[in-house]
Assembly symmetry: C2
Homo-oligomer: 209 residues x 2
DNA sequence: GGATAACGGTATCAAAAGATACCATTGCCG
DNA sequence: CGGCAATGGTATCTTTTGATACCGTTATCC
């Protein structure tokens, strides 16, 4: 999985040969186990991680609550890191590996260098900023204006689309963490949905009808 | 205010002579009156507005509620527009002139062109993305985790710092719009703060003690 | 097989926020 | 000067969400 060809099979947007060579020369492939923390809140960011395989969950935490910001999937990078590394800043949020995850670790000094030298890299940076911003804005909107029941439905439908399955493997507690609320609230709402015939509850599993 | 020298007095970060010339050749200065809408939600974005004088308020609205995203002050630009114009997208939020506002309107086709040609322009674009993202994240955090009373205090202190005065000119309704809640809720909280001796209420004016 | 942890159903109570309504005051405009 | 809009004080009621507590079930691990 970490051979040259495999790396650029995932990072197929990197077209320049010279950039590929620089990547092989200066970057490292790191592996994180499921549940391992990749970036801590307040930590200084020294490398930009691009996901090669697996998934990273980026979230904000406060006391015993947490709320999902987004997932980083293969060929994507973490907005926090990108933002933080431009000015050698601290990360405002946490990142944890959802499953075993391999990342390409790019030392921050190359980010801006490559932006000037390589078109595809500049596009990648801009696209990341853009997409993550839009995503955050969408989440913001739903947190600011919507009730939790609607947010639960939206979250489940989003998962359904993304994973192309009606059965979402997820405990009530996990769902509470995703949306920034508590388990009891989620159980209550899901039960109501089940009574309305919208879904069926199984152990650590939600079946959309 | 719209003479060449005045423009680049505000946009002093633009160092390249060639870029200054391109700006003068291809861009227009537009004036908006107080309260005038600059960008509507869902509208396609064709120019990137950089504020020369005055202030723009960018917010999201839903039914009779609205919530502040950020202000655009002189020498800054609107994140929405920047994001939207990269892919010829619709604006996800609205922008209104707070006071008489002059902007430099840059046709979107130059944004990426200049990014490659001019260092200072690329920095401007990146810095805008970065700062707006961090700002949004901060607002998101407070909406997700904090109660309204705390958000009211934070908003007022922020204004106090920014404007360097203890007297904030603001009606309860306006404050409700900034924070995405209703007038009655704000009046209730402010009254409580006044009873606690934290501030003093005047008509359309809040005095921090 | 028994301890233990994860999962989740549910009841009760409290707090936060929103909805509505009504009225008094102030400022402005014709 | 009279009307009208903006401002804001306040009371009442409801809804939403959160906090706590308790218990039964299921899975997992020695």
């Amino acid at each position: 999985m970490t051979s040259e060809t495999e790396i650029f099979k995932v990072l197929d947007f990197i077209s320049e040969k010279a950039l590929r060579e620089e990547i092989l020369e200066y970057c490292q492939v790191l592996t994180f186990q499921k549940g391992e923390t990749i970036v801590r809140e307040g930590e200084y960011v020294k490398v930009l991680p691009i996901v090669l395989s697996g998934h990273i969950r980026v979230f904000q935490a406060k006391e015993d609550r947490e709320i999902l910001l987004y997932y980083v999937d293969p060929s994507q990078t973490c907005m926090m890191s990108l933002s933080a590394c431009f000015y050698n800043n601290q990360s405002p949020s946490q990142a944890v590996a959802v499953s075993e995850t391999k990342i390409l670790a790019i030392p921050t000094r190359y980010i801006t260098q490559w932006q000037k030298k390589y078109n595809s890299w500049n596009n990648f940076v801009i696209k990341t900023f853009r997409n993550r911003y839009d995503e955050l804005l969408e989440t913001f909107e739903s947190v600011a204006f919507d009730h939790i029941d609607k947010r639960v439905m939206e979250y489940l439908n989003h998962r359904k689309e993304k994973e192309d399955t009606s059965i979402i493997k997820l405990s009530h507690q996990q769902l509470a963490y995703e949306l920034g609320t508590t388990r009891v609230v989620i159980s209550r709402i899901l039960k109501q949905f089940e009574m309305d015939g919208i879904l069926k509850l199984h152990r650590a599993e939600i079946e959309l009808l």
